[in-house]
Structure formats: structure tokens, C-alpha cells
């Protein structure tokens, strides 16, 4: 096959189009995932914010907390509640970070593949030019080839 730049340009357009389309799909998927994660985080904090007053009230109804009343049971319960919120929030946030990292990694892997395809095509062009050049030399040699 002789060197034909139009063929390589067509291949380049195909690669770019495919990469752009998949990248857009990944970006939209990432957006949805990020949005969903943020909603979950908000729900988690809302849930903890709503449970905290009820927890204090329950200890107050039993007389374990109140004006001039501070019991160790109430303090441990509140500390455990706060620790659980921290742990769950951290786990959720780490999950969101890892999800974001996964999207980023997928995008970069796709970019790597796209770049590699373009590099392969450039290398192929150079090799094709070299083969055509050697064929040209053989033709120029004529009967001496």
C-alpha cells in the first residue's frame, strides 16, 4: 500500500470521534455519580442532624441529662453518636473520592489508548513512507534491481 495521507486523516478522525464520544459518556456518568454521591452525603448528614436532638431528649426524659444534670452515660452516648457520624461520613466521603478517582483513571486510560493509537498511526506512516521510499529506490534502479 502506498502512502496516502487521506487514509491516515480518516483514521485520525475516527479515533478522535470515538474518543470524544466515549469521553463525553464517561463525563456524564461521572457527573451523575458525583451528584448521586453528594445527595447521599447530604442525606447522611441530615439523618444525623435529625437524630441528635431525639437522642438528647430521650436521655432527658429518663433524667440522665438536664439542668445541672450531667451523667456519664449521656456523655458516652453522645460521644459514640458523634464518632459513628464521623466514621460513616468518612466512609461515605472516601467512597466518593474513590469513585471520582475511578472515573479519572478510566478517562486517563482512555486517553492513553487514544494517544497510543495516534502514535501508532504516526509510526505506521513513517514505516509506510520508508517502504515506499525503498520501493522508489528499486524502481529507480530499473534493470539493476
Amino acid at each position: 500500500m502506498a502512502y496516502d495521507p487521506s487514509i491516515y486523516e480518516a483514521r485520525r478522525r475516527g479515533l478522535t470521534d470515538n474518543y470524544s464520544a466515549t469521553a463525553a459518556m464517561r463525563a456524564y456518568s461521572q457527573f451523575l455519580g458525583r451528584q448521586l454521591g453528594q445527595r447521599g452525603l447530604v442525606d447522611l448528614n441530615t439523618n444525623f442532624n435529625q437524630q441528635a436532638p431525639r437522642l438528647v431528649s430521650s436521655y432527658g426524659q429518663r433524667g440522665l441529662v438536664g439542668p445541672n444534670v450531667r451523667t456519664g452515660a449521656f456523655a458516652r452516648a453522645m460521644q459514640q453518636f458523634a464518632q459513628q457520624r464521623v466514621r460513616q461520613t468518612s466512609e461515605y466521603q472516601t467512597g466518593l473520592d474513590q469513585q471520582e478517582y475511578g472515573y479519572g483513571l478510566t478517562n486517563r486510560q482512555a486517553e492513553t489508548g487514544y494517544n497510543a493509537s495516534l502514535q501508532d498511526m504516526e509510526a505506521e506512516k513513517a514505516r509506510q513512507i520508508q517502504e515506499d521510499a525503498q520501493r522508489l529506490l528499486r524502481h529507480r534502479a530499473g534493470v539493476y534491481a
Binding site: 466512609e91 472516601t94 473520592d97 494517544n115 514505516r127 520508508q130 525503498q134 522508489l136 534502479a141
Partner: protein, 369 residues
């Protein structure tokens, strides 16, 4: 040359007795003018005839003397009759005088005809000798050789021209091919350098630290935040470890991408070198082929030219040999070759007489011996 002029001086010059050699002791018959004796002795003293006389002197003397006696008697009888008729001697018969005149006329005609033939033969022989001496027998051989030499020069010029054209085309083709190859690989290398394939280079995993959202509430309730703060610290440490692991993976992928880029650059350089080496090898092969074709063509041309020259020279040699054979057959000598005197001189009357004498001796000796 008349008979009288050729015979008389010799008769007078050879009149004094000549000592015979060998065993020639027989007394010769007496003649009016003593010719038989002088002729025989002339043969004996002739350097060209000594060899024969030494070996056959006795027989020759016996046979040749008698035959010569008869022949010369007849000739001189006619001469004497003619002399007597011219001087008015009545003793000479009329019939004998007419016969002698007729014989004399025939003899003169014979001598004239022979002289003419000799002259013609001499001219032909001279022509052949001249042709042999000045190379005339070569005919148009030199022109043919010049044409062959011209063909040789033209052929060599064409062959060398084809070789030069072929070498020029190979060199130009190599330069063009090498330029295209280097240009193609240069573009590829430049693209690789301008577009390194390492998307992981700036990619970092995110780490969102958590905080104690209930610190104010706990403080307002008089509850210590210390255990919660410890939990926050532990969770952030754990998330940082997760981030570190992800970044380690990213670093690994980035390093791998860098190695891939370096490998691809090396691959391009090796491909370029391989391509140039292949073209150089092809060029050397093509040039070698061109040289071989040139040598074969020159060798073929040389063979053809030498063959053509050989044919011409062979034809010249054949013609020369034919001419030499013709000269020899005509009694001539080859220019430059040792000659035999008798072959170059027209026969004298004495030689004719010698031949007659020898013919009378049954051909056992000719004047040429």
C-alpha cells in the same frame, strides 16, 4: 635477343679449352666451332650445376654429349646454310635454304612468343609480389578492422553510458528515498516528543478529610470531644492511606506510560536506522548488479569484437597464403625470402640449349638443377 648475339660471344669467350672435372676424360666430338665441348664444359663449370655433375658426370657425358651433338648439328647446319646462301656459295641447296629460313622464322616467332609470355608472366608475378610486399592482398581488411574498432568504441561508450546512467539513477533514487525516510521518521519523532502519552502525570487521587460536625453540640452539652477528635484523626489517616494507594497506582501507570514513550521513540529510531541500512544495502546490491551487467556486456562485446577481428585476419591470412602459393607456382620468390638466382632471371639461349640437352638426357637433369 637474337641467336647470333647470344651464341657468338659465348662461343668466342669459351673457345679456350676448359679443364674438365671428375672423370670426364672422354674426348668430345669435334665440331666446326667446338660448341658441344664448350657447352658440356660450361655445364661442368656452372656453379649451379656442379652438384649434379659431381654425381652423374659419367652418364651425362655419354648421353648428353650425343644428344647435344645431334641437335646442335641440326641447328648449325641451318645456320651454315643460311650463311652460305647469303655469301653466294653455290654449294648450298635451294630447298635447304628455304627450310632453314622457315625454321629460323619459326624460331624467332617462338622466341618472341616466349618473350611476350615471359613478360606477361613477369608483370603478373611482379604484381603479385608487389601486392604481397605492400600489403595489397589485405584488400578492405583494414577498413573492416576500422569499422570493428568503431563498433568496439561505440559499444563500450554505450555500455559505459548505460552504466553511468544506471549508477546515477541508483544514487538519485537512494538520495530521494533516504530523504523521504528521514523526513517521515523525523516527523514521527517530533510528534512523539510533542505529544507524550502520559495522562497520569498530573493525575492525583482526591482525599476529602472529615470533621467533627457535632463538636459545638457536644461542647454545649458539656460532653468532651476528645474521643470524637481521635476518631476524626483515625478516619482521615485511613482515607489518606487509601489516597496514597491510589496515587501509587497512578505513579506506576505514569512511569509505565513514560517507558512506553521512550520505547516508542527508540523504536522509531531503530526503524529509521533499519530503513536506512536496508536502503544502503539495496543500493550496494543495485550498484553491484550494475557493475556486473557492465562487465558482462563489456566481456560479450570484447568477445564479439575479437571474433570479428579474428575472422578478418583469418581471411587476410588465407588470401596472403593463396597469393604466396600463386607466386611460388608462377616461379617467383616471396619478397624477403632467400631466392634462387635462376628463378629470377629469364632464360638465356645457353639456358635453352642446356634445357634441350637435359631433355635429351631423359629428363634426369633440368637446367634448374
Amino acid at each position: 635477343m637474337s641467336f647470333h648475339r647470344s651464341i657468338r660471344p659465348r662461343i668466342q669467350r669459351r673457345t679456350p679449352p676448359v679443364e674438365p672435372i671428375g672423370k670426364v676424360t672422354k674426348k668430345t666430338p669435334s665440331l666446326n666451332v667446338g660448341m658441344p665441348q664448350t657447352i658440356v664444359k660450361d655445364h661442368v663449370n656452372d656453379p649451379a650445376m656442379k652438384f649434379s655433375f659431381k654425381n652423374e658426370a659419367d652418364n651425362l657425358d655419354k648421353i648428353a654429349t650425343k644428344n647435344a651433338q645431334d641437335v646442335i648439328d641440326a641447328l648449325l647446319a641451318g645456320v651454315s646454310g643460311a650463311v652460305r646462301a647469303s655469301t653466294g656459295n653455290s654449294n648450298a641447296g635451294t630447298g635447304q635454304s628455304s627450310s632453314n629460313k622457315l625454321a629460323w622464322a619459326k624460331w624467332n616467332d617462338e622466341l618472341a612468343r616466349r618473350k611476350l609470355e615471359d613478360e606477361q608472366r613477369a608483370r603478373g608475378l611482379t604484381g603479385m609480389q608487389d601486392s604481397l610486399a605492400n600489403g595489397g592482398y589485405r584488400g578492405n581488411a583494414d577498413e573492416l578492422l576500422a569499422l570493428i574498432a568503431g563498433m568496439d568504441a561505440t559499444g563500450q561508450t554505450n555500455i559505459n553510458s548505460n552504466y553511468s546512467t544506471g549508477m546515477s539513477n541508483i544514487g538519485a533514487g537512494f538520495d530521494t528515498a533516504q530523504g523521504l525516510t528521514n523526513q517521515g521518521f523525523s516527523k514521527a519523532n517530533q510528534y512523539l516528543k510533542d505529544n507524550p502519552n502520559n495522562p497520569y502525570q498530573s493525575f492525583q487521587a482526591q482525599n476529602t478529610p472529615v470533621q467533627n460536625a457535632m463538636s459545638q453540640l457536644l461542647a454545649s452539652l458539656g460532653v468532651s470531644n476528645d474521643p470524637v477528635a481521635q476518631q476524626v484523626q483515625a478516619e482521615n489517616v485511613a482515607s489518606q492511606q487509601s489516597q496514597g494507594a491510589a496515587n501509587d497506582l497512578t505513579s506506576l501507570l505514569s512511569a509505565n506510560a513514560q517507558r512506553n514513550d521512550a520505547s516508542r521513540l527508540s523504536e522509531m529510531q531503530m526503524a529509521q536506522q533499519l530503513g536506512n541500512a536496508g536502503m544502503s544495502t539495496a543500493r550496494a546490491g543495485y550498484e553491484s548488479n550494475a557493475s556486473n551487467v557492465q562487465q558482462r556486456a563489456l566481456a560479450t562485446l570484447l568477445t564479439q569484437i575479437q571474433g570479428a577481428k579474428f575472422d578478418v585476419e583469418q581471411d587476410v591470412g588465407t588470401r596472403k597464403q593463396t597469393l604466396m602459393d600463386a607466386i611460388i607456382a608462377a616461379g617467383g620468390i616471396i619478397p624477403g625470402a632467400p631466392s634462387t638466382p635462376l628463378l629470377n632471371q629469364p632464360p638465356t639461349m645457353i639456358d635453352v640449349l642446356k634445357r634441350l640437352v637435359n631433355n635429351g638426357a631423359n629428363g634426369r637433369m633440368t637446367y634448374a638443377e
